[in-house]
């Protein structure tokens, strides 16, 4: 007999209530995950800020030795690494993104809640790994972009760079999972009526950012994997004396690095586009152009990495191309600046701290944008490269543009997130001290850079004439430090306060303001129906545009729409907590730790924990993966399951991963000085392997067809066939690698061998993962747990398997057939 549904209690407990410590460790609620990102990021922000202050103390006077040169190197390296990977991205994406995406699109959670928790725990593990050098081996000290070949073990022995490589690999995995999750959520889980052109601009920016993450991070991953191989397995991907070129690292790093700037800037643009209309009491000016500008910026940002490398001598054609694309980005960015100004213009302004910071961002970011246009010009850039002018530029972008926005977002959304207000008086102090401190610190750097002061310099001579401006900067940095103290005090004061924030303290425009402050675990009692842009404003005042403003100005009290009918507690779908994201992350961390301290038992323990956690996650819910969503949970997916969108997003990201590997192979294949070359490749064997893999794809679709029609016998037979063919393929690869070894071609023999083994080996690893995944499904089929209703599980592994197949089609052609013929 079915239980009687209970109606919602009068008091709706907030997401912060209940569960205890275990509840937080196992939470997959996007809001709690966001809060954990916040705590972690605030800690690392204090640490990164301390490192910045120490740098400024060192530069206070000429020939200073307040820090040792080694410590100074470690501090500027860790300041950059910490602020980019452990503060700005976690705050923008992990904290504000996580908290706001479901609330702004009218959903109950993100598409993959467990993956979301996994992203956080991996990010935390990455932060810990990056800082374990404090305890053993020293902090990384090769700069935040770790240029090769300084990072090679020959030049930087010890563990410091090892922590950096492993930490960033884990951080990258976390970020890619976040991007995949956010993209799928925004595509598939918008409330009914929320078309793309009705989304809050923050959602547009996060959607574009997620795409950028998926196509930019694989390049960094590959660059780091090469570095890892160089340091741990004695390959020579960045060693010039072996015929390689350190320039490869620069390309791979900046292929990630410049989009990374926009991965940080675009969410900031989105937040500003929320704050300014709210406090101007006007709809965002030029909404469509703002949305298109975000897309154009994201697209162009992938084609400008070369402007970081003008000094490397890429040639006039490449220099011109990168200069043009870099200058083009100024156009959509200018569109945004003017649209924000036009939104403020004529508005009924409410001068809150959040709005102060938003206006501050407009001014400071514009200064950084203007100096950025200078860098787009190759001749000018050559004068500015590696000078303090560059330091000034990127701090005006990342602090003036992004950190001002983060502060604005804090004052704006803090009441919603915590249910408490931040003190406006302390906030104004915070703002003005930040403005003064920030400009005192960074504006003089323009002059110092033009006068020739190199960035990262440990100290300088008294005769250089740089002393007074450096002292001014140090004073500014301390003022900035005091400003942050005001911020932290404000946070603690707010948390200690008993005064509760109203649900809609700013008369907001988007759906998050329709929920209580702080929101309940399920966000919305009923999924809202969206009737236009500024969905909550429309519900309150009837219209979003000028008529809505008129209604507001006439003093019409906003209506507080109620849910259409009281739902029952059982009707609300909330994902169940899971311990596996935490355990899996611990496995990853253990494996990384074992690799660095060269203790193989630790590695095996880490791998075992990872594998068991993944299997545990597979069987935790009924569908061998993420729990199925009820129909109201993915209203904008057009009938496509969110898991399928997620898998395709992952496959898209993998395209860039393999493109980076393949291009490296093509670049390096003929640069070897000695040892076997492409002639060693065994075409008959790989032709057979290709045939086997193609036929395994046939068996895979036949398995899917059998599952879909409920034919359990053939489902098992075809799945078993795919596994068998996968194992034959892997066996062929093992045979091929072994025979190469006996013929004198090992991993480290030459550039051809190392780029071949890494490329083909990674493909083989993908096949092995596919075989494992298929084996779990076959086991489920044997236990009778698969079948027609769970055909999607087979379809998902099928998509992965076919992708591995198409990658092999490319490898077979580019790596084997074309290379084995001389001169091809």
């Amino acid at each position: 007999m079915a239980a009687q549904p209970k109606t919602l209690p009068a008091h709706q407990p907030s997401y912060l209530e209940g569960g205890g410590i275990l509840g937080w460790l196992t939470t997959i609620d996007h809001k709690r995950v966001a809060v954990m990102y916040l705590v972690s990021a605030l800690f690392f922000m204090a640490l990164g800020g301390f490192e910045a202050m120490a740098i400024r103390v060192q530069l206070w006077r000429p020939d200073n030795h307040a820090l040792s040169a080694a410590t100074y190197n470690a501090f500027f390296t860790m300041h950059g690494t910490t602020m980019v990977f452990l503060v700005v991205m976690p705050l923008l994406l992990g904290f504000f993104g996580n908290f706001m995406i479901p609330l702004q699109i009218g959903a109950r959670d993100v598409a993959f809640p467990r993956l979301n928790a996994l992203s956080f725990w991996l990010a935390l593990i990455a932060g810990i790994l990056l800082h374990l050098g404090w305890i053993r081996g020293g902090l990384p000290d090769a700069g935040w972009f770790g240029y090769a070949n300084l990072t090679e073990r020959y030049f930087t022995p010890g563990l410091a760079i090892d922590w950096w490589v492993i930490g960033l690999l884990v951080s990258g995995a976390s970020t890619v999972l976040t991007g995949l999750n956010f993209l799928t959520t925004i595509i598939a889980m918008r409330a009914p009526g929320m078309t793309y052109m009705r989304m809050p601009m923050f959602m547009w920016s996060l959607m574009a950012t997620s795409i950028l993450i998926l196509i930019a991070f694989p390049a960094l991953t590959i660059g780091l994997i090469f570095l890892l191989f160089d340091r741990f397995f004695d390959t020579h991907f960045y060693v010039a004396s072996a015929g390689a070129t350190p320039i490869l690292w620069q390309h791979l790093f900046w292929l990630f690095g410049h989009p990374e700037v926009y991965i940080m800037a675009l969410p900031a643009f989105g937040i500003i586009s929320e704050v300014i209309p709210t406090f101007s009491r006007k709809p965002l000016f030029g909404y469509p152009m703002m949305a298109y500008s975000i897309c154009l910026i994201a697209f162009l940002s992938y084609g400008v990495w070369g402007h970081h490398m003008f000094a490397t001598g890429m040639g006039p054609v490449a220099d011109s191309a990168f200069a043009v694309t870099s200058m083009l980005i100024a156009i959509p960015t200018g569109v945004k600046i003017f649209s924000w100004i036009a939104t403020v213009w004529g508005g009924s302004l409410r001068m809150t701290t959040a709005f102060y910071f938003a206006l501050g961002m407009l001014l400071e970011f514009t200064v950084g944008g203007l100096s950025g246009i200078m860098h787009a010009s190759a001749p000018i850039d050559l004068q500015q490269t590696d000078s303090y002018f560059v330091v000034a530029h990127f701090h005006y972008v990342l602090f003036g543009g992004v950190m001002f926005t983060i502060m604005s977002a804090f004052y704006y959304w803090w009441p919603k997130i915590t249910g408490r207000m931040l003190d406006e008086r302390l906030g104004k102090w915070h703002f003005w001290l930040t403005v003064v401190g920030f400009n005192l610190t960074f504006f003089p750097m323009h002059f110092l850079g033009m006068w020739g002061m190199p960035r990262r310099t440990y100290t300088y001579g008294a005769d250089m004439g740089w002393t007074h401006l450096n002292q001014l900067e140090t004073i500014g940095a301390f003022i900035l430090g005091v400003a942050f103290l005001f911020f932290y005090v404000n946070i603690f004061k707010s948390l200690a306060s008993r005064e509760r924030a109203p649900a809609d303290p700013w008369d907001g425009r988007s759906l998050e303001w329709s929920t209580p402050s702080p929101p309940p675990a399920y966000n919305f009692a009923t999924i809202p129906q969206v009737r236009g842009r500024d969905a909550w404003w429309i519900l309150k005042y009837g219209r979003a545009g000028s008529r809505g403003v008129a209604a507001y100005m006439s003093g019409r009290a906003p209506s507080q729409p109620q849910p259409s009918e009281p739902p029952s507690v059982e009707d609300i779908h909330i994902p169940a907590p899971s311990i596996f994201p935490l355990v899996l992350s611990l496995g990853v961390g253990t494996m990384g730790l074992g690799l660095i301290i060269d203790w193989y038992r630790i590695i095996f323990i880490g791998v075992a924990v990872m594998v068991l956690s993944i299997i545990g996650m597979g069987f935790e819910y009924a569908d061998f993966g993420e729990e199925s969503h009820d129909p109201e949970h993915a209203p904008s997916s057009g009938g496509v399951d969110v898991r399928k969108i997620g898998m395709w997003s992952f496959i898209g990201s993998e395209c860039v991963f393999f493109a980076s590997l393949i291009s490296t192979f093509i670049v390096y294949k003929s640069r070897s000085f000695s040892g076997p070359g492409p002639q060693i490749l065994n075409i008959p064997l790989t032709s057979f392997s290709t045939f086997i893999l193609l036929m395994s794809s046939l068996l895979m679709v036949l398995a899917l067809a059998a599952t879909q029609r409920g034919d359990k016998r053939w489902e098992r037979i075809w799945l078993g066939g795919v596994i068998a063919f996968g194992l034959i393929f892997l066996g062929g690869q093992v045979y091929e690698f072994t025979s190469f070894y006996h013929e004198g071609m090992g991993l480290t023999t030459n550039l051809f061998s190392q780029s071949f083994f890494v490329l083909v080996g990674f493909h083989g690893a993908h096949v092995a993962i596919g075989v494992l995944w298929l084996s779990v499904l076959l086991a489920a089929a044997m236990m009778g747990k698969l079948g027609q209703s769970r055909a999607l599980s087979v379809e998902l592994v099928g998509l992965y398997w076919h992708f591995v197949d198409v990658v092999w089609i490319i490898i077979f052609t580019l790596v084997y057939l074309m290379q084995a013929v001389p001169g091809a």
């Binding site: 595509i187 196509i215 390049a219 010039a240 004396s241 072996a242 070129t245 320039i247 490869l248 390309h251 292929l255 992938y302 001598g313 890429m314 040639g315 054609v317 490449a318 057009g638 009938g639 496509v640 399928k644 997003s649 898209g652 395209c655 860039v656 393999f658 493109a659 291009s663 490296t664 093509i666 670049v667 000085f673 075409i683 032709s687 290709t690 045939f691 193609l694 794809s697 046939l698 895979m700 679709v701 899917l704 067809a705 879909q708 027609q788 055909a791 999607l792 379809e795 099928g798 076919h802 197949d805 198409v806 089609i809 490319i810 052609t813 580019l814 057939l817 074309m818 013929v821 091809a824």
Partner: protein
């Protein structure tokens, strides 16, 4: 040709076994052509373009029929094709940039 309804919603139709077998036959033939081109020396002057066309055809067949892009929503095609284009541009760009580097830099070592 038998068409099988998708498990979720029944709106999307995947092809039946006959289509899958036909595609497999095409894939085998195209692979055989690739290997033939490789072993016939007279065809080596056009080896690169021919192999690229054949590989692209195989890639497209698997993506369209086995990965069901031909039958699924356009959304999924977009999610796949956009990064694929980016990946291709990346590949070509890096090859060209390093070709310039190789031609204009003094050899090291």
């Amino acid at each position: 040709m038998s068409e099988i309804a998708d498990a979720h919603g029944g709106q999307i139709h995947h092809p039946g076994a006959a289509t899958y077998l036909t595609i497999a036959a095409f894939l085998v033939v195209l692979t055989a052509m690739e290997i033939t081109v490789f072993y016939v020396h007279a065809l080596h002057p056009v080896l690169v373009p021919v192999l690229m066309v054949l590989a692209a055809a195989k890639f497209a067949l698997v993506a369209m029929f086995y990965m069901h892009l031909k039958y699924d929503k356009w959304l999924l095609t977009g999610v796949f094709v956009f990064p694929l284009i980016i990946a291709t541009l990346l590949l070509v760009s890096l090859i060209l940039l390093f070709a310039y580097l190789s031609n204009h830099m003094a050899p090291i070592g």
